[in-house]
């Protein structure tokens, strides 16, 4: 979880964005954090580098918890 949060924060930081709330498993990447499609694509690449898993392969990622499920398989 911590590692995923730090990847999310890095994508925010690199693109001069911020999220003031606390990131939990139910936090929505699009609705809460405000990631657009390009942000999500960047996140996918960074997660894949770390975990070797393409989280959007079947297009089912909405929350931070969804990423955790995909990366823990």
């Amino acid at each position: 979880m911590d590692k995923i949060i730090s990847i999310i924060n890095r994508v925010l930081e690199n693109n001069n964005k911020s999220y003031s709330g606390t990131i939990t498993e139910t936090t929505s990447l699009r609705n809460d954090i405000g990631f657009d499609s390009l942000d999500l694509a960047e996140l996918t690449v960074n997660i894949e580098e770390e975990y070797g898993v393409d989280i959007f392969e079947n297009g089912f990622v909405e929350t931070v918890g969804d990423i955790m499920k995909k990366t823990s398989k």
């Binding site: 693109n15 609705n31 999500l40 694509a41 079947n58 297009g59 909405e62």
Partner: protein, 402 residues
């Protein structure tokens, strides 16, 4: 619903065809042939005015506008009092009218192309069965695909619901509330609608262009839009929409059959299909598209798209010229070499990457992105930036972009 014309929930726009007609009949004292896109309704009103006047028009973001303002005592409106149907019928007979647009350009600067009314509306279908269609607009309204949606809807007096730039939740509520029946969008737009948490029974047609949708995504979308027909189209700023396929097999309609040929697996289009442009290279009456195809049947002609011959990178449906981005990055004194390239990505089709060689470690990823974001639209800014000791070249001395 009383002839709804345009909904934009972000801008709070709610206009009927009656409103549009009233606004078109307002006296106007000055008409500029260059439109700045600020408000989608104003954009359409000015576009329609240019059609009524039969005057060439340019979208301002294309950067090579030669502005010309026409001043009137009042707007010369020959159709006053005749009703909107009469307007539309007459608009279809425009002969001088041209729309100037920019293509992304394979090398260096964007090229300008002129579209005539027939070339823009070649594939527009008009008939009474389309009277109740409601279009979800999922493209930038000033781009080729967005214009096609506008004309398709406008010429049939259908409602346009602007979905471009909305969040997934907003898109869902718009599709539901306004009973959207037709959506034309990039594969990326559809991927972002997943997971399929809702079902939209009223959507009859889903059109996508550019890259392929994977079978898994397609199945999920079919669950979301169970009554929709799925169509893949080939379109470009140069040619407009030309061919359609239900899967990835493209067939050529009888009407344009003799204007299409395949030369060494590359698609060639006859110049009569292409927008008029001094910047496009035409060889003996044919435009060489750079789109590589695989022919699956010669008689009748059927093919699949394989790749692009040139270096253009397709990011979620928008074309990026890597040379343009590289030149900008090299404007930083600390950068000695750079390579911009595309990497396959499950969400965007391709994600834009840059390998950068620095003189000293004086620049951060964040600073480079901020520098580029001030100068380029978002999709042209590389998302994955790596600092490398050197850029490797191919055997022919070119930067390998794969």
């Amino acid at each position: 619903m009383d002839g709804l014309f345009l909904i934009d929930i972000k801008e709070g726009i709610h206009r009927s065809y009656h409103d549009l007609f009233e606004d078109l009949n307002q006296p106007v004292y000055q008409f500029s042939n260059s439109i700045e896109y600020k408000n989608i309704y104003e954009l359409y009103v000015q576009l329609i005015r240019s059609l009524i006047l039969d005057e060439t028009i340019t979208f301002k973001e294309t950067h090579f506008t030669s502005e010309r303002a026409i001043t009137f005592q009042s707007f010369p409106n020959p159709y006053y009092g005749e009703g909107l149907a009469y307007y539309i019928k007459n608009i279809r007979q425009r002969s001088n009218w041209k729309l100037q647009m920019a293509t992304s350009g394979t090398t260096g600067l964007p090229k300008k192309v002129y579209h005539s009314f027939p070339s823009l509306t070649r594939n527009i279908k008009m008939n009474v069965h389309r009277a109740d269609d409601v279009w979800g607009l999922a493209y930038n309204p000033t781009h080729m695909a967005g214009m096609q949606v506008f004309f398709q809807a406008f010429l049939n007096q259908n409602a346009i619901i602007n979905l471009f730039g909305l969040s997934r939740t907003q898109i869902f509520s718009c599709i539901q509330e306004y009973s959207v029946s037709h959506i034309s969008a990039t594969p990326t737009f559809y991927r972002l609608l997943l997971p399929a948490t809702e079902v939209f029974n009223k959507v009859k047609q889903i059109t996508f262009g550019g890259e392929k949708l994977s079978e898994g995504i397609l199945q999920n979308l079919k669950g979301m839009f169970p009554n929709a027909k799925f169509t893949n189209v080939y379109a470009s700023t140069e040619a407009g929409a030309l061919f359609a396929a239900s899967g990835d097999q493209f067939t050529i309609s009888e009407k344009i059959k003799s204007f299409v040929k395949i030369v060494e697996n590359e698609l060639w289009l006859h110049e009569s299909l292409i927008a008029n442009s001094p910047d496009l290279q035409i060889q003996d009456g044919w435009y060489v598209t750079g789109d590589m195809v695989q022919v699956t049947s010669w008689e009748p002609l059927e093919f699949q798209f394989v790749s692009r011959k040139n270096e253009m990178i397709n990011i979620g449906g928008s074309k990026v010229n890597p040379n343009e981005v590289e030149e900008l990055i090299l404007e930083n004194a600390a950068v000695t070499d750079v390579k911009v390239f595309g990497k396959p990505n499950s969400l965007m089709g391709t994600i834009l990457c840059a390998d950068i060689v620095l003189q000293q470690n004086t620049l951060s990823e964040k600073e480079i992105k901020a520098f580029l974001k001030e100068r380029l639209p978002d999709y042209k800014v590389p998302r994955i930036i790596k600092f490398v000791p050197a850029i490797t070249l191919t055997s022919t001395g070119k930067k390998s972009r794969i």
